[in-house]
């Protein structure tokens, strides 16, 4: 016994955490290296262009350090107004539409056919990116914030209805049972057993979505759906980097305010 004890290694090596067999580990490393080589080969960089661009990059950094808020102030204000109004209206409309869809997508409240219809609406809305929806809606409804409003409302449905439905499915079933045993109708059940349990979270999620919608509203302008993104796109196309710097600072500022505002209110509510 004592003889065996002396055979223990005198140094300690950390045991592998994820892949315990050596061959799989080496195969994985080999695969990663091979992929990185293949992927790097597909990048085609024109260093001449990058070199020319560096001067532009420098101008952009200068523009960022000395942002020009004044010369295009009117357009910035218009873009920001469009973004903010779009954010609010689309969140309100999106929430109003997603509440019935969310209830319909909760397995414990509705029969199977309604459940599948509502879940597929949610799936479609979640699968497509805002910007792709925006492209289509701009083609249908014309340029401007109205298309943006529709885009964000549609995207809100996928987000909010899914989270609301998941939340309803996880409610305390005993409270619903108690209300049901008093002879309540389906609407009374939703109003007295479900609504009090999910309302704080619904308000929290709506505020969170308000924050997301503002971020998105600054992007969908690139494809013509109005808002501050359109102003930014114009500024960059005209190589006016001091204006672009100013717009980016404004967007970042508003995003920060929206994020901290919404997270503070959510903490206060819960």
């Amino acid at each position: 016994m004592t003889a065996e004890a002396t055979n223990y290694p005198s140094t300690w090596r950390r045991p592998p955490q994820v892949f315990t067999t050596r061959t799989t580990r080496y195969a994985l490393y080999g695969g990663i290296v091979l992929y990185l080589i293949l992927a790097s080969l597909s990048i085609d960089v024109d260093w001449q262009r990058v070199y020319i661009g560096l001067e532009r990059g420098q101008r952009f950094v200068m523009g960022f350090l000395q942002p020009d808020f004044t010369s295009r102030w009117n357009e910035i204000v218009r873009g920001l107004t469009e973004s903010l109004t779009m954010t609010l209206t689309s969140t309100v409309v999106g929430v109003l539409i997603s509440v019935p869809i969310g209830i319909g997508a909760a397995r414990n409240l509705v029969p199977a056919p309604v459940y599948y219809v509502c879940r597929s609406i949610i799936a479609v809305s979640r699968a497509l990116q805002e910007i792709i929806i925006a492209i289509f809606l701009v083609a249908m409804f014309g340029f401007g914030p109205f298309a943006g409003f529709l885009t964000l409302s549609f995207a809100t449905i996928g987000f909010l209805a899914k989270l609301l439905a998941d939340d309803i499915e996880e409610i305390d079933a005993r409270q619903a049972e108690a209300i049901r045993s008093t002879g309540a109708s389906w609407f009374q059940l939703v109003n007295y057993a479900v609504q009090p349990q999910v309302m704080p979270r619904l308000i929290g999620l709506s505020l969170y979505r308000l924050d997301i919608n503002f971020r998105e509203s600054s992007v969908i302008g690139i494809v013509g759906a109005g808002g501050i993104g359109a102003t930014l796109n114009t500024a960059i196309d005209r190589y006016e980097y001091d204006d672009a710097g100013a717009i980016l600072l404004i967007i970042s500022g508003f995003v920060l305010i929206a994020e901290y505002g919404s997270s503070t209110i959510r903490k206060y509510l819960q």
Binding site: R14, Q17, V18, Y35, L36, A39, S40, S42, I43, D44, V45, D46, R49, V50, I52, G53, L54, R56, G57, F60, T81, E82, L84, T85, M86, L88, T89, V92, A127, L128, Q129, I131, I132, I135, F136, A139, M140, F141, G142, G144, P145, F146, F149, R215, E216, S218, V219, I222, G229, L232, N233, I236, Y239, A244, L248, I251, S252, V255, L256, E259
Partner: protein
């Protein structure tokens, strides 16, 4: 006994005062909504909006059937898109790890100077959307994959950095203490006390971000940053709607596969 008469015969959930407050809040929200709606739609051309169903039917009829002959041409852009997402994630992770260690309260070398800098990097990266990063980088380093990769990487820093530094702050301090108690140096504490604890979170965050990056990289081409979005832009510009359908189906498939991979891997890790 006479006090009883003060109470209402009917049970109500809230006091009259709080009900009044709530109603005022809701009315204010409705008023705000109407005001925003009017501001937003001030310049809307309603003819285009009423015309939308006809436009939708027109586009819809042009979109079907999807042009299957276009698929082989899309394989290289799809490969590029996956490369943008993967290399961008790798780049983002490489830059985010040091930032996360500087930002975490328990590992930062200087809480007064370096921590605010790291937090600022995280916030700046998070507040600007990948598409806007790409817009800037295309202007600076020219159109192509590199702009897309750098845009994805810069955008990922904030996300990975934030989640990782929160994971670092939540580690079990007793393990760190145990390692330091046997006389480990700073680097050894990091390597044996902290890193093993955050490894699962690190992989889970990276793969989650990779999944998001696949989604985002499909549209970066809209502003010229390479990948399948470039083909989408080209098809949209030439009004080749049947090709647009093919691209959208391909994007949808890629997103679903990446989501499936990411959820499988994350479940295996945690």
């Amino acid at each position: 006994m006479s006090e009883i008469s003060h109470y209402s015969e009917l049970w109500t959930h809230r006091t009259p005062k709080s009900r009044l407050l709530r109603w005022t809040g809701w009315v204010a929200l409705v008023a705000l909504f109407i005001w925003c709606w009017q501001l937003m739609t001030a310049n809307t051309i309603w003819y285009f909006v009423t015309d939308a169903p006809r436009q939708a039917a027109d586009i819809g009829s042009r979109m079907f059937p999807p042009s299957l002959a276009y698929i082989p041409e899309l394989m290289v852009p799809l490969w590029d898109t996956i490369n943008i997402a993967t290399l961008g994630t790798v780049g983002g992770v490489v830059m985010a790890v040091p930032v996360a260690f500087l930002a975490a309260r328990n590992t930062t070398p200087s809480a007064t100077f370096l921590r605010p800098v790291a937090l600022f990097i995280i916030v700046a990266s998070r507040s600007i959307n990948a598409l806007i990063w790409a817009l800037l980088l295309v202007a600076i380093i020219g159109p192509g994959l590199l702009a897309g990769i750098v845009a994805i990487a810069l955008r990922s820093i904030g996300f990975i950095g934030k989640l990782l530094y929160e994971a670092i702050e939540e580690i079990d301090h007793r393990q760190v203490e145990a390692v330091s108690a046997i006389g480990a140096s700073g680097a050894q504490i990091l390597s044996f006390g902290i890193v093993p604890q955050i490894t699962p979170a690190f992989w889970s965050i990276s793969i989650f971000r990779w999944d998001i990056n696949i989604r985002e990289s499909t549209i970066l081409g809209l502003v010229g940053a390479g990948g399948i979005g470039l083909k989408l832009q080209a098809s949209l510009n030439t009004l080749a709607w049947s090709q647009v359908t093919t691209i959208l189906i391909l994007i949808l498939g890629t997103v679903i596969v990446s989501e499936w991979v990411s959820s499988k891997v994350r479940r295996a890790i945690i």
